[in-house]
Amino acid sequence: MRRQAAREADFREIPSSVASPLREVLSKRDIQRLYSHQFESWEKIERGESIVIPTPTASGKTLCYNLPVLNSLCSDRDTCALYLFPTKALAEDQLDELQGLISGMGSDIRAFTYDGDTPRDARKSIRQRANIVLTNPDMLHSGVLPHHTRWARFFEHLEYIVIDELHTYRGVFGSHVANIFRRLKRICAFYGSKPRFICCSATIANPKELAEKLIEQPVSQIESNGAPQGERFFAFYNPPVVNQQLGIRRSYIAETRRLALSFLERGLQTLVFANSRLATEILVRYLKDATARGSLPPSSIRGYRGGYLPRERREIEKQLREGQILGVVATNALELGIDIGSLDTVVMAGYPGTVASTWQRAGRAGRRQSLSLAVLVGSSAPLDQFILQHPSYFFDASPEHAQINPDNLEILISHVRCAAFELPIQDGETFGPHPTADLCEFLKDDGVLHHAGNSWHWTSESYPANAISLRTITSDNFVIVDISGEPNVIGEVDFNSALTTLYEKAIYLHEGRLFHVERFDYAERKAYVKNVECDYYTDAIDYTQVKVIETFESAPLGSSKAGPAERRHGEVRINRQIVGFKKLKFYTMENVGAGNLSMPEQELHTTAFWLHFPSSFLPSLTAYSPAEKQGGLAGLGNVLRTVGSLLLMCDPRDLGVAMSSAGAISSDTDRTGPASEPELYLYDNFSGGIGQSEPLYCMHADLLQRSQELLAACPCAAGCPSCVGPLGEVGEKAKEVAAQFLNHLLTQDSGQAAPAWRKAPALPGRESSRSRSGDSPIASVQPQ
């Protein structure tokens, strides 16, 4: 449990350069002064700088951009501004806010959303008349930039580009968006405009770095935060262990329900966050059922998630603000900047995945005047357990770094195609920092570019933006069709998971029910399943081969009798094939059968971070069998992935784990070969890599040490899904062996310190696993 002291508002006078209609509308809203961060933003924008504003939820950041934009429009009615939001819902929400200000000013400034939902016949008029366009990167990419001539007026007068929720532009998505900004800047240059960027971000470690990587120009960071804050408490709650052997804890959903109910019954407005739609619905039902038996009307509890209709969501937001609803169960849909006012308590069912979004969600609790409380209820997932065992990691460490790699060659080249489609590429032109000559030559060989005069022209019938999806590649998802009765689509699974969960004869788990996969249609991307009752599940056996193509850097790591291991990073090729599956009995994990499969081989060319062990290393661990050693290495891989994704602020699925398949540690290959040098890889699970490997290489000290702590703090006896993985997969000695590996790697490893910006504060040793008191001691929440 931690306490955050109340903070007074830090006000500044409204600058004299603010036009009078704006001044009036502010005073109508009882805004007589600005918060210090709003004032600082204003001053920097006045000076023509691009800025990034990293402030928490509900701190009045929208005024930071609306104020300068509307002010410019007061003096020049031709000014245009582009607002980008990661989702359509946010754009709608902000349009309401903006319209409120505009009509308060008595102005006819024209602001519109422009996205896939905009009716065809409204589009032309928006293009011709809008001052402010609110859209998303996907629409900019495929609907606006390739048709920029229709937006000529808009681009000629474009002065501001607002990027809200900047922190969501990370990973593959962020790498695409950075390239879209390269294209956007080219188009602006064509029309002679040079807009300023105003970025808003939730708390991350590197807002300025991320903004500068995304827009590739200097950005000035707003340091102040003048929003007031009432006294806040933040508690971690770990459900009690019910099965020591398997490391199983009491259901975090049930515990969330119990905690939320105790708040609701005290009349506290409470927001419950769940990590999936399903969990959201379950919690809504639980809470409604519980309130029905008590004094509260069930109508005071509502759900809120992506699938709800916009009108429904507006209504819930409004009722929350007005206090008609007491409890809401939401997915991350409410995490982003939707205005619902502030609440008394927030309960999080499960760790949201990153430090940044945990703070973001916790920030929803925060009355300006009175006390508020946020509780994180841990699930048994490895990340959750790590965080709960290491509260100081969460409270003291800086939030995660958002990583992007705009120079991923495949991403880059696909946007060079789009750029050439939009405007011919001049000789000597650069795309971002890259000279374009070689890239264009490459595209010429591909038959889509042609050189004439002094530029490269698009010579293909295709529309390249349509071939690029910025987010996960939805077209490659597999649809799951339940054919128990009338065919019924019950879900969708991404390409990679489909191969490991939906093969024929697999048992597929969906919403707690078991399905047998009858037919797997690879070409049509469909799997046909039937509902069954059985006492086993299936687990795919994959055969992964890694080939190192180039090692960029390597350095010795630790020392053991057998000589130092090494950490390395570089380029690799991963070949992966599902070759069979095992049938495992529930609870006992007993192997009750197996089958062969021949699924298409997948090849991935990417970057990786890996540990390299000398050939004498494994033989030096004499106490264990080869299979146990292999299990230990696999277990270590799972731990490293958990911690690595924590350090990188990425989804654990963004990191793949693989081991070298060389003789000594693999049971199914020839053991007579030369003594092998085992390697354990953590690779970027995206073709070409998205820049996660080098940071891992640099953060090795943190990575290994925290992995060791995770193992030590996990209360299970011999390994569990919260640390090394299920025993059925890694074997009973995995935890022990993995710990040994880590000991070797960490011995005498003190030389290479990570660069300062990446280095997290030192951990206070083992004690950190116990809950420590914060600024002021508060009684811990005890499980009942």
């Binding site: 048709h147 001539t149 060659l409 011919p424 060989d445 042609h450 004439a452 022209h457 010579t459």
Partner: protein, 445 residues
């Protein structure tokens, strides 16, 4: 940042080649020497002069010449169709005799009269149908009506660096004309050219011109009868012209890209021919379409469905007694000329409505009785119309009720229910006033 290395690109190239299953042939396009299909370098061929790219051989294969203006060079080809030439069954010389007033009918008065010598027929050949800024019009044909016949000018860019000069030359020509005539140009050619002018930063020439898109009129006349209103289809069906040696439209971008790659100008011959044919056909179709809309009653049409299309167009316009009379006349002619059932019943029904509007009740009732006899989409509506007529005009409540009940048998709806109830109430009231026996009988039926 790691700079992009050539080796990275090579690797990517290799990967793409694998993904494409080896279909990509990196040798041919990147080779400094163009090759023909057999793969042999063909710089020995007489028309290829690699070192002097300005000496493209377009002028050797195509009638025309390289022109130059302040923005550079472009290629211009001209064809003249003397007045005695026929295009299918259409006499090209008839074009110059078309009256200036023809424009007003089809545009419902939007385009004032202009002499045909001020009309410009325009059609583009483009690098694709995807739209957006990456699609280019590499060939723009303009047809104009002259005293002795019909002239087509083809503006062509031999490469992308000639686009600006070509666009400016096109604008220079168009300033002499006031009416732009296209086929689907409102949706396709003109917006595309607008984008090209903007990208080239040159003034857009179409703003001052009236624009007549013949596709709309053609659809009106022929969509009932024709499976497609594509220009080439109408060319054969309406003008009776058989195009020979034409290439399918979807191949056009491919031909142009191949020309750019190989510089073999013979690839352009079918492209130029295609564009010229499109423009001549467009002009001749205009000569067929405009008169029909200018004087619908006198339209020289023979197929029932064509006449029906024109009648509907007329009916949709501003209502006047004259227009109604003309539309009515056209409906009758269409019915007389013979129509398939689905068109026939609708035509009958539309005629009934017009007769009603014109106050010719007897005519309307006659048609409604016909429609009420047989199964068709308008049967219920016709019966309802008859019921109304007998209730309000003939004051024959029994007859009105009979029609209402008949209509309800075909298609129950609340309005008819309402009418039946009202009629029954009225009849009951009447019966109480006169003969109680009869009222019982009527309600029982």
């Amino acid at each position: 940042m790691k700079p992009i290395q050539k080796t990275d690109l090579d690797r990517l190239r290799e990967k793409i080649r694998r993904i494409k299953g080896g279909r990509m042939d990196p040798g041919a396009p990147s080779s400094p020497h163009p090759t023909d299909e057999t793969g042999t370098p063909n710089d020995s061929l007489p028309y290829f002069k690699q070192d002097q790219p300005e000496h493209y051989d377009a002028e050797q294969y195509l009638d025309g010449e390289v022109k130059e203006n302040q923005w550079g060079r472009y290629f211009l080809s001209e064809r003249f169709y003397p007045g005695d030439k026929r295009h299918g069954n259409y006499d090209v010389s008839a074009l110059s005799d078309l009256p200036a007033e023809l424009l007003s009918g089809i545009s419902r008065g939007q385009i004032p009269p202009h002499d045909p010598s001020r009309w410009a027929f325009l059609d583009t050949e483009t690098t694709g149908l995807a739209g957006g800024t990456g699609t280019c019009a590499f060939l723009v044909g303009v047809g104009t009506i002259e005293d002795g016949g019909f002239r087509v000018r083809l503006f062509f860019m031999r490469d992308y660096d000639e686009e600006a000069a070509m666009l400016v030359a096109l604008a220079d020509l168009l300033q002499w004309y006031d009416v732009l005539v296209t086929y689907n140009g409102k949706t396709y050619d003109v917006p595309l050219l607008e984008t090209r002018y903007r990208l080239a930063r040159k003034p857009f020439p179409f703003e001052r011109m009236h624009h007549l898109d013949i596709l709309h009129g053609a659809r009106q006349l022929w969509k009932l009868r024709m499976e497609s209103c594509k220009l080439t289809h109408l060319e054969y069906e309406i003008l009776g012209f058989v195009r020979e040696g034409d290439l399918p439209g979807e191949m056009i971008p491919y031909y142009y890209f191949e020309y750019l790659r190989t510089r073999q100008a013979f690839r352009l011959v079918p492209l130029f021919h295609h564009n010229v044919m499109d423009i001549v056909t467009l002009a001749c179709l205009t000569g067929v379409v405009l008169p029909a809309f200018a004087a619908p009653a006198a339209a020289n049409l023979h197929h029932g469905q064509d006449i029906l299309g024109l009648a509907r167009w007329l009916q949709r316009g501003r209502a006047s007694d004259n227009a109604n009379a003309d539309a009515n006349e056209l409906y009758r002619r269409a019915i007389d000329a013979g129509l398939p059932d689905e068109n026939l019943f609708r035509a009958l029904w539309e005629t009934a409505l017009i007769e009603k509007k014109r106050g010719r009740r007897d005519e309307m009732i006659r048609i409604c009785r016909d429609l009420a006899e047989v199964r068709n989409d308008y049967r219920t509506a016709a019966l309802a119309e008859l019921a109304k007529h007998y209730e309000h005009h003939e004051k024959d409540l029994d007859q009105a009720l009979a029609f209402t009940i008949q209509a309800l048998e075909h298609e129950p709806n609340s309005e008819l229910d309402h009418r039946r109830n009202r009629l029954q109430r009225k009849l009951a009231k009447q019966a109480r006033g006169h003969d109680p026996l009869q009222s019982t009988m009527t309600t029982a039926s």
